[in-house]
């Protein structure tokens, strides 16, 4: 067993874990944060995307014990005081989902894109940067529209984009 202390969605968390525990298992099974999904479990699909120290990563391919001192943000950590994050709101508004399974990963990726590239995004950039997120319901048309609108809304809102990721 290995002890790890980290911050998850702003709260300090400590645990004594079997080193094999993947971050996504730790989030879902230990912390009961089930918004982060396991899709492929082979680092292809992006359903498990969370932010580690502000950067989008695949929680299915990260050991929880390797995150001592790190700050993790999951989909549950985006909304503030009962108000959806602008990117979540944009996915709702533009119907950027069907079954919703890929949506938490899509939204965490989308916020990461804005953090890296700013709030004005063209379609090509969005499509390229959503490379690591797979939706199996339908085309990506509304997802791309939602990301563009969410990015714009993040740029317009008073809260800087970076804050949402931390």
């Amino acid at each position: 067993m290995t002890t790890v202390s980290l911050t998850v969605n702003g709260k300090a968390v400590s645990a004594n874990l079997d080193p094999r525990t993947l971050l996504v298992q730790f989030l879902r099974e230990n912390l009961r944060l089930t918004g982060t999904h396991v899709g492929c479990d082979t680092s292809q699909c992006g359903a498990c995307i969370v932010h580690i120290d502000g950067k989008a990563v695949k929680a299915c391919t990260t050991l929880a014990v390797s995150l001592d001192g790190a700050s993790v943000t999951t989909i549950e950590g985006l909304a503030a005081n009962g108000t959806l994050h602008p990117m979540q709101e944009a996915f709702r508004e533009h119907h950027g989902l069907q079954c919703g399974f890929c949506t938490p990963g899509m939204i965490m990726s989308a916020v990461d894109i804005v953090n890296r590239r700013g709030s004005v995004l063209d379609e090509k950039t969005i499509r390229e940067d959503l490379d690591g997120n797979i939706c199996r319901c339908t085309g990506y048309h509304n997802i791309v529209k939602a990301v563009a609108a969410g990015a714009q809304a993040m740029g317009a809102s008073s809260a800087p984009a970076r804050q949402a990721a931390e």
Binding site: V57, K58, T62, L63, V65, S66, D68, D131
Partner: protein, 267 residues
């Protein structure tokens, strides 16, 4: 995944000490090959030595006529580095096209180089740029480092600490990627340093990354895409699998080489 003990040293020296002491231990860098391999039970190390806390293995500096990149520097950090973008833009471009954004946030140059996947991107850059691989015990040229499929000259207990790239006058990379895995079906890195030209091919060789001497000779005469007109790579020794047969890959080598030269010369 089979059980293992986890160790998190703070320096490369401590890591080397642990590696010498623990039987059947493996180094964990970004983990984006090793962890999936362990999940499939294709690897079952008894101990993992995580280099994630070794600050001395991170960072990018320019040292004279070289760019030196710490082994634990992520693909995203190489792609975004102002130093790399200015000195060897082709290398930054390569790093920005590995995997997807999430993979690039975790995957490291040292991990990729040590793994020597025959379809990985970095080996082509190291070979074409004649990079030096620095370990905790010695320095190795790229040519002697990559020895076969997933095989390198690294010995038991040896850890890559940094990689030094000479700054060349022109360099670029082009790859035809497998859309599912995002690995190179064929990737070609070209580099011109003074009168020397090197062309390195990844994704195609039966024994991993290799140089293409005919293309190098043609480009030495004139470093332009046109110089490669009519030049065909041989399908002998080229990989064939469900994604592409050897002839198709051989054809792609020519196409990617031309594209890389075009990019390197701004044409």
């Amino acid at each position: 995944m089979y059980a293992f003990t986890y160790h998190r040293p703070a320096t490369a020296r401590q890591a080397a000490g642990l590696l010498a002491k623990k039987e059947d231990a493996k180094i964990l860098a970004g983990g984006h090959t090793l962890l999936p391999t362990m999940k499939q039970r294709l690897a079952s190390p008894s101990a993992l030595i995580d280099l994630g806390a070794c600050a001395d293995l991170k960072g990018i500096v320019r040292k004279g006529r070289n760019v030196v990149i710490g082994a634990m520097t992520t693909h995203a950090e190489v792609a975004e580095s102002a130093i790399v973008q200015e000195a060897i833009p082709g290398l930054a471009w390569l790093a920005s096209h590995i995997g997807d954004p999430h993979v690039r946030h975790r995957g490291t140059i040292g991990g990729s180089v040590a793994n020597n996947d025959p379809a990985a991107d970095y080996p082509a850059a190291l070979l074409a740029l004649d990079a030096t691989i620095v370990t905790n015990t010695r320095k190795l040229g790229a040519e002697e480092f990559f020895t076969g499929l997933y095989e390198t000259a690294l010995e038991e207990g040896e850890i890559i600490t940094r990689i030094s790239f000479p700054i060349v006058s022109k360099a670029s990379y082009a790859k035809f990627r497998n859309p599912a895995s995002r690995y190179a079906l064929v990737g070609v890195f070209v580099a011109k340093r003074g009168s020397d030209v090197r062309v390195a091919v990844t994704g195609a060789g039966e024994s991993g990354v290799f140089r293409w001497p005919e293309a190098e000779a043609a480009l030495k005469a004139r470093f332009a895409p046109k110089s490669l007109d009519g030049l065909k790579a041989t399908a002998k020794g080229i990989n064939g699998d469900m994604h592409a047969d050897p002839e198709y890959r051989a054809h792609l080598i020519g196409v990617m080489a031309k594209e890389a030269v075009a990019r390197a010369t701004g044409k």
